[in-house]
């Protein structure tokens, strides 16, 4: 089985001083500005040397704290933004070298799609559900005949269980679940090979979540897609994914089969993450509580572990030497000096 997507040493740095900062980056940036005045440009390492593969038909989960670079990574993969360095190979073609602005003309455009986190925000308020779903068909499949277009849109809508009478509605006239369906429909309209799901259900009620998850699983089987599933909710990742990668401050710190990550996490961070899931064994959980905030992603020390300071296992070594990769079995590895050893 060949890899559908192969990402090597992918990096994205933001030069600070520009606009559009948010969240933690802002905090640290402010802190930096007010404590030390040097004016040389600082780099925010949003994604810092990421390597992984996705095989055909596989679903890969991507978890990590807010601000760790998930969305940034995903935007590069989907060719919505350019990388600083590194390569993205999609179906044996280096798509990373095509500038994002020009990617809309590439044949791969239709094969790589995303569903965004907020189903409401990702719909154009002036477009009806029909328009939204029809858009990729018009642009990328060059469907211009009205009848054909309608037929295709209706077919896709049926595929995502979207009642056809809702096609004429504007986003604000749809419920959250329906909006999510429209988004998914738009993304799968051209039967992409890889579908990236950036927290597709986090804005939905539990009551709807299950349907959407089931729909995703069904679609995957029907269309033979691969998934890259980004989520905060480990329980969901566990349900949906074959493999999981865990990111922390722009880097992958652990990767392995889903079940193994959950039952036998290696990295202390993964461990903490899992124990923070509600509904776990209570006594055990509080042992792994993380205190404090992540370090700044601005010009991190390449020689130190980025988790140091919050890590229950951290020692001096972690500040002096970059963490090492340990791999108890071929498809599971973590990057840490002091991994959690299974009992």
């Amino acid at each position: 089985m060949t890899a559908l997507l192969k990402v090597s040493d992918l990096k994205k740095y933001y030069a600070l001083g520009g606009k559009g900062l948010s969240d933690n980056a802002m905090v640290s940036w402010v802190r930096n500005r007010f404590t030390n005045a040097p004016k040389e440009t600082q780099m925010l390492h949003a994604v810092d040397g990421v390597n992984f593969e996705i095989s055909k038909g596989e679903s890969l989960g991507l978890v990590g704290e807010s601000g760790c670079g998930k969305s940034t990574l995903v935007a590069m993969l989907a060719r919505l933004s350019d990388s600083t360095s590194g390569s993205i190979n999609f179906a044996d073609k280096d798509i990373g070298s095509v500038p994002a602005k020009q990617f809309h003309a590439e044949p791969e455009r239709s094969e790589l799609q995303i569903v965004f986190q907020d189903p409401h925000e990702s719909l154009n308020p002036r477009f009806t559900a029909f328009d939204t779903i029809a858009e990729p068909l018009r642009r990328l499949a060059n469907l211009s005949s009205k009848a054909e277009l309608r037929a295709r849109v209706e077919a896709v809508a049926t595929q995502v269980d979207l009642p056809l009478q809702l096609l004429g509605r504007f986003p604000h006239q749809l419920s959250g679940g329906q909006k999510a369906r429209v988004n998914i429909a738009r993304a799968i309209a051209l039967s992409p090979k890889l579908l990236i799901l950036d927290e597709p259900t986090s804005a939905l009620d539990v009551s709807v979540q299950a349907v959407i998850l089931k729909l995703l699983v069904r679609l995957k089987q029907e269309l033979g897609m691969s998934y890259l599933f980004v989520s905060h909710d480990l329980n969901v990742v566990r349900l949906l994914c074959d493999r999981v990668i865990v990111m922390y401050l722009g880097q992958i710190i652990e990767e392995g089969p889903a079940e193994e990550i959950f039952t036998n996490p290696l990295h202390p961070y993964t461990r903490a993450l899992i124990s923070a899931i509600p509904g776990q064994n209570k006594e055990d959980a509080s042992k792994y509580r993380l205190e404090g905030d992540p370090l700044s992603p601005v010009d991190p020390d390449p020689e130190a572990c980025r988790f140091y300071g919050r890590c229950p296992n951290g020692t001096d070594l972690c500040t002096r030497a970059a963490p090492v990769k340990i791999s108890p079995n071929p498809d599971h590895y973590a990057v840490c000096h002091f991994p959690v050893l299974s009992e």
């Binding site: 965004f116 990729p136 642009r139 738009r186």
Partner: protein
Amino acid sequence: MSEFLKHLRYVLTENPVTLIAGTMFVLLIVAAIIGPAIVPYDPMASSASQSLKAPSWEHWFGTDQLGRDVFSRIVVATRLDLSIAVSAVAISFVFGSILGSLAGFFGGWVDRIVGRITDTIMAFPLFVLAMGIVAALGNSVENIVYATAIINLPFYARVSRTEVNIRRSSDFVLAARLAGNSSLRLLATHIYPNTLPPLMVQVSLNMGWAILNAAGLSFIGLGVRPPTAEWGIMVAEGAGYIVSGEWWLAIFPGLALMLAVFTFNLLGDGLRDLIDPRRRT
């Protein structure tokens, strides 16, 4: 279409002020279209015996120094005034919002250039700039329109710049990019239409300003050419007669002007609601 009409009805009935404004707007339009055909007197015809007559049954709004019927002149002026307002606003709307959108979308040097242009215009005392333009180009209706359009341009450019800017990396735009749209198409079909509702408020406010601006120009003698009937120039000329007691010369055209500006101002919110699909129930 019927969807739109239904929505129109909703917007109008939802707020009584909008309804009033809407009704007045229709009246204005009607006056502009059929006004010249229905007025009781020739708005240009002077009459020595009828000069400076106070309002009466024959002359509802009185007559002016040359014995021209003020009512007829006011009604006939509607067309010109509305056209001045509409064309001035249309020009600044089109150019301003396009410039602003490009600046907001592409950022960088496009943004800087557009920013400097708007800053430069804004740094002029706007009315004086309008005066200067009209004085330099000559006082014709077109030049008044151009001057008004130029001084209003920065407002549109600024509003649409920010509106585009906040949307340019929003999820739905990214989604549209995924659907294979090029940058320009994204801007034109996805972002730009969404910036219209806030611009609509600006449009309606500006319609009022445009008329007032023309009136101000008239006051300092740079208004439209006589004997054309135009509210601003009628108020400006009539203002000189207030102290001598011929109040009707200024008051009635002033009321007409006020009514129009009023209508446009109040219409703004309704217009925004009308064009914003989110407000549709």
